[in-house]
Amino acid sequence: MVEAGAWWTLLAAPALLLGFAVLAVTADAALTARDAGRPVTVSAAMRPLLAVPRALVAQPRRMPAPDRMLWRAGVVSVPVAAVLSTLVIPFGNVAVADLSVGVVWFNAMEVMTWAGLWLAGWGPNAAFSLVGGYRFLAQGLAYELPLMFALISTATGAQSLRVGDIAAAQYGLWYAVWMPVAFVVYLAGVLAFSFLGPFAYPVGQDIAGGVLSETSGVDRLMLQAGRWLWLAAGAAMAVPLFLGGGAGPALPAWAWSLIKTLLVLAALVAAVRRLPVIRADRYVEFAWVVLIPLTILQALVPALVNVNR
């Protein structure tokens, strides 16, 4: 049973999330080094982290007539929302706050990225940046509803919106096993709200980096960190939603949470590297014509199972 953590979990949860995000970044760098034929060393894996001090001392880029307040608000809200989303994610048997509406909370924080990224695109008063912001909205209209139905499937299965209850309801059989469509759609949603890999369309190279194109220094660091923090948060949330939370033989609950989160994160990093960027106009049609009907049917399955129970 999941219980609310002591006050220090409020600090430990963001630190843990940051740790997962850094691990994902370094794994990505190590794989890049391997693919490029360079030796896979610790320094090669750590290389992207050098961007952190570089960003901190970088001279800010000035634009003519930016909306500085909205720009700043948008840039900050992406990583902040990612951190806030972890409040409801249990690690082992402890969550910072096991809210009675945890699933909705996670979803609400994730939707905050919509506002954040659009603002980050709008703020600098630059065309490519704005195109990037709009691209994220187009992508959002595609990924959000299937993602919501995937979340609803798990909540319907457990008859609770509390993340701890959902993890506990999977005693014996993971939701990933009997709700595979919801699981896959959820993982795609994670990639989409972290705008990485196949969903890196808002920061596409064809628009000179899109939302990221005009950011520099700490702003850029915030957005980039937000992407990987969201990837880590999504991986962590997949464990209680679909993989039984901290349940497992022999090892303590926190160890199982750690192992499962790392495995999901590894799968996501592999997907980020292997899949090509997909244009939003193509994905919108696929999402609305194929994914939404599939996920509605998926949500029907636990509903029928619960009616019969």
């Binding site: 909205l70 608000a73 509406v101 609400a108 939707v111 603002l119 909205l137 919106l161 919108v284 014509v289």
Partner: protein
């Protein structure tokens, strides 16, 4: 209600009002939209503090999506979206004043007309279930009807708004494959 909750309630309420005032005083469409979002997020907080966490968080969720989409349309249709030259956000002032006056009076009178319980009753632990039962229990028919009406409205509005029909897509004999669409989709219809 404890002291913390009361303080939180008042703070969020005042913030919601302040952001609401900003909606009418700022002169950039983007800033106005997000002032409205900030106001509605505070309202979501107020609802949560009042003991309806589900409705509160859903307000935040839905309003974030809706305001961002609204920003796109407002900016598409309004001149001077970025507020580079000062622009008033007030239109139809007399009508708006009348409507908002009536709505305010109605809501305020409702506060006094509603028969509030005399003493605080034992609050149910799961208000989400209560909300669900009161919406979906006795009012299931209303909700189902509303759902269909909303869906029909959306489909109808889209059909009326688009100037392309199936003959534009598939040709006069409806035998043209793939369809002639301005943007290619991902399914290849």
């Amino acid at each position: 209600m404890g002291t913390t909750a009361a303080v939180l309630l008042w703070t969020l309420g005042v913030l919601a009002l302040a952001c609401g005032v900003l909606v009418f005083t700022l002169n950039s469409m983007a800033r106005v939209t997000f002032a409205l979002l900030a106001s509605l997020v505070c309202v979501g907080g107020v609802v949560t503090v009042l003991g309806l966490p589900y409705l509160g968080v859903v307000i935040v969720l839905m309003m974030a999506m809706e305001m961002v989409i609204m920003a796109v349309f407002m900016i598409a249709y309004m001149m001077n979206p970025a507020g580079l030259t000062p622009m008033s956000m007030l239109h139809n002032k007399r009508g708006a004043l009348a409507i908002s006056g009536v709505v305010f009076a109605a809501l305020t009178s409702a506060v006094f007309v509603v028969p509030w319980p005399d003493r605080p009753r034992l609050r149910s632990k799961d208000t989400t279930v209560q909300v669900g039962m009161s919406l979906m229990g006795d009012q299931m028919l209303t909700m189902v009807t509303l759902g269909f009406v909303l869906l029909a409205t959306m489909v109808g509005a889209t059909v009326l708004a688009t100037n392309r029909g199936r003959y534009d897509r598939f040709g006069d004999d409806l035998d043209q494959r793939p369809a002639r669409d301005p943007a290619g989709g991902g399914v290849g219809r």
